[in-house]
């Protein structure tokens, strides 16, 4: 497989994490502009763990993801009681705070005579664990997709479960859901924690692939993009955000002929798409239709 394709697929895989993270919050009806903060926090945390504390990769990955989840809960507790857009702006403010804090965050350790560690706006270099262990680009891509598959499996289970139904209920009509005897705030916190862990997983994977993270990357553009992926691909299923990522990256990479006008075309297409399908390509109605057809096909007399 050629290196270019591997690199593109790896990018799609990692972006998928943050897209799924934003999507999960969208399911419960919250618009978060700030999931990139947990992506960042986990990138740094896992990088510190493997490059500076000598932890193995998987441990660093789990550590980073959990860190992301905990951070998400800490932020969600004061902010989830804010209505709608106020919550969204709060997430944006928080994410920017995190980014700016990393610009001044320094923590370095001497390893083998060299200083290693995050150095404010210089970023955090030398997260080399993957390369030291001779894992090829292809193998790492498989790792990314293995973790992603795990997350997707989780989402599929979620859709069929009571928790998933409750999330969607809260997303559609929180007050009605309270009227069914459910504590919506508690479930939203749970969703926030889960979303933080997912974003964290992506961040840890990113840090080790890129070997270098700097605060500049974790900006609001990333955050809004992650929302856009879900909204374009469709909010009816976890595959929606994946499709959104694939469309964006695939489009961006493939249409060489109009390379200068990519965003003009793509931006326009997105705007038009949202007029026609405000909840994305695979929105709830589409998913419902697909499920019905699938059932009809399965039960069709031969």
């Amino acid at each position: 497989m050629d290196t270019y394709l591997i690199s593109v697929l790896s990018n799609i895989g990692m972006l998928a994490f943050i897209a799924l993270s934003a999507y999960l919050l969208l399911l419960v009806g919250e618009i978060s502009f700030g999931q990139q903060a947990f992506f960042a926090i986990s990138a740094y945390a896992s990088g510190i763990a493997t490059a500076m504390w000598g932890w193995p990769f998987w441990l660093g990955l789990v550590w980073g993801s959990l860190f992301g989840g905990v951070a998400a809960v800490l932020v969600a507790v004061p902010t989830l009681r804010l209505r709608g857009l106020y919550f969204s702006i709060a997430t944006l403010a928080f994410a920017e705070m995190v980014r700016l804090l990393f610009e001044i965050f320094t923590y370095q350790v001497e390893i083998d005579g060299e200083l290693v560690g995050p150095d404010g706006s210089e970023g955090f270099r030398d997260i080399r664990l993957i390369y030291e262990q001779d894992i090829s680009a292809f193998e790492y891509m498989c790792i990314i997709y293995a973790v992603l598959a795990l997350v997707l499996a989780g989402f599929i289970l979620l859709e069929r479960s009571r928790l998933g139904a409750i999330f969607r209920m809260i997303g559609e009509d929180p007050m009605l859901t309270e009227m069914q005897g459910l504590n919506t705030i508690a479930y939203k916190l749970l969703a926030a924690a889960m979303a933080g862990v997912i974003a964290g997983a992506g961040g840890a994977l990113y840090a080790h692939l890129a070997t270098y993270v700097e605060p500049k990357i974790f900006n609001v553009m990333l955050g809004v993009h992650s929302l856009a992926y879900g909204l374009i691909g469709g909010l009816g299923t976890a595959f929606g955000p994946l499709i959104g990522v694939a469309i964006d990256i695939g489009f961006l990479e493939s249409v060489r002929a109009i390379s200068g006008y990519r965003m003009i075309v793509f931006g326009g297409l997105v705007a038009v798409l949202l007029i026609v399908r405000p909840r994305g390509i695979l929105d709830e109605a589409a998913v419902h239709w697909i499920r019905r057809r699938w059932r009809q096909v399965r039960h069709a007399p031969d």
Binding site: P78, E96, G267
Partner: protein
């Protein structure tokens, strides 16, 4: 002093939010487009101040109308997220358009005034800042008159208070929204002219910068409140200068965001927008 420019940006945001209950993420880029129109006119035709200002405002308004039609008018009520993401997509579109048409990193823009400083007792001001402040003040007065003494202003305020009732009173909601957008864009255009004129140059980063400053200022003052936007802008200006003074420039933006975050958690209505918060809560409970 720079607070007054923030205030103007915030007013534009708040006007749109007040009538539409949605954020226009493309506001910064749209007025940046206007500023680039102004630059174009200046560089190509050596136009004078007035013409450049007009070009800026017209450019901003045209961009604003484009966004309004495509992202807000065309998307039905209740799909607020779709509008916001759509406006984001257009943001990308406009930025690319601008970098295509104006590939340099920075362009000259007619400065508001020669670099003169004026001493007034213990303070000293640069002429541009004074002009900006004065223009902003004049605009705010005009806006106040517009909002409180004209029928259009009345319709706008009615629409902000209670969209459903406004519709029943025969107010042509679509038209008012359209006008409000145009007004917000025009104000943004003037703000852009003043700000870029103070700097003497324009870069493509202006759109992002303007969006953030306007957003923060609006939130500090209270979403949906014009006097709040003004206060919020001034407050942001003060916070920034104070934090640079006491903590150093790296902390400027960080402080602003921290203050915003604290405000949101403790008092989401900002300085003056508590009524909007209450209204949102009441709407939530309307059964």
């Amino acid at each position: 002093m720079i607070g007054s420019s923030y205030a103007l940006l915030a007013i534009g945001f708040t006007l749109i939010f007040g009538v539409m209950r949605r954020l226009n993420l493309s506001y910064g880029p749209s007025i940046m487009l206007g500023a680039f129109c102004g630059t174009f006119v200046y560089l190509e035709f050596q136009a004078g101040h007035l013409l450049v200002a007009v070009a800026t405002v017209v450019g901003a308004v045209v961009a604003g109308i484009y966004i309004e039609r495509l992202c807000f008018w065309a998307i039905r009520q209740g799909a607020a997220l779709a509008s916001m993401v759509s406006s984001f997509a257009i943001w990308m579109q406009l930025e690319e358009l601008i970098t295509l048409l104006f590939p340099e990193r920075t362009y000259r823009f007619p400065p508001l005034a020669e670099s003169v400083s004026i001493d007034l007792g213990p303070f000293f001001f640069r002429a541009e800042n004074l002009i900006m402040f004065a223009c902003a003040a004049v605009l705010m007065v005009l806006l106040h008159v517009l909002l409180y003494r004209t029928r259009f202003g009345l319709a706008l305020r009615a629409l902000s208070e209670n969209p459903l009732a406004a519709r029943f009173m025969g107010i042509n909601v679509q038209w008012i929204i359209f006008l409000a957008f145009a007004l917000a864009s025009a104000l943004g255009g003037v703000a852009a002219y003043l700000i870029v004129g103070t700097d003497g140059q324009i870069t493509p980063m202006f759109g992002l910068w303007a969006t953030f400053k306007g957003l923060i200022a609006m939130m500090l003052g209270g979403m949906g409140s014009v006097p709040g936007a003004i206060l919020g802008g001034l407050l942001l200006g003060v916070i920034e200068t104070q934090s640079v003074w006491y903590l150093g420039t790296e902390f400027r933006d960080l402080t602003a965001y921290m203050v915003l975050f604290v405000f949101l958690v403790l008092r989401p209505g900002g300085l003056m927008g508590q009524h909007t918060v209450r209204r949102e809560q009441a709407a939530y409970r309307r059964v």
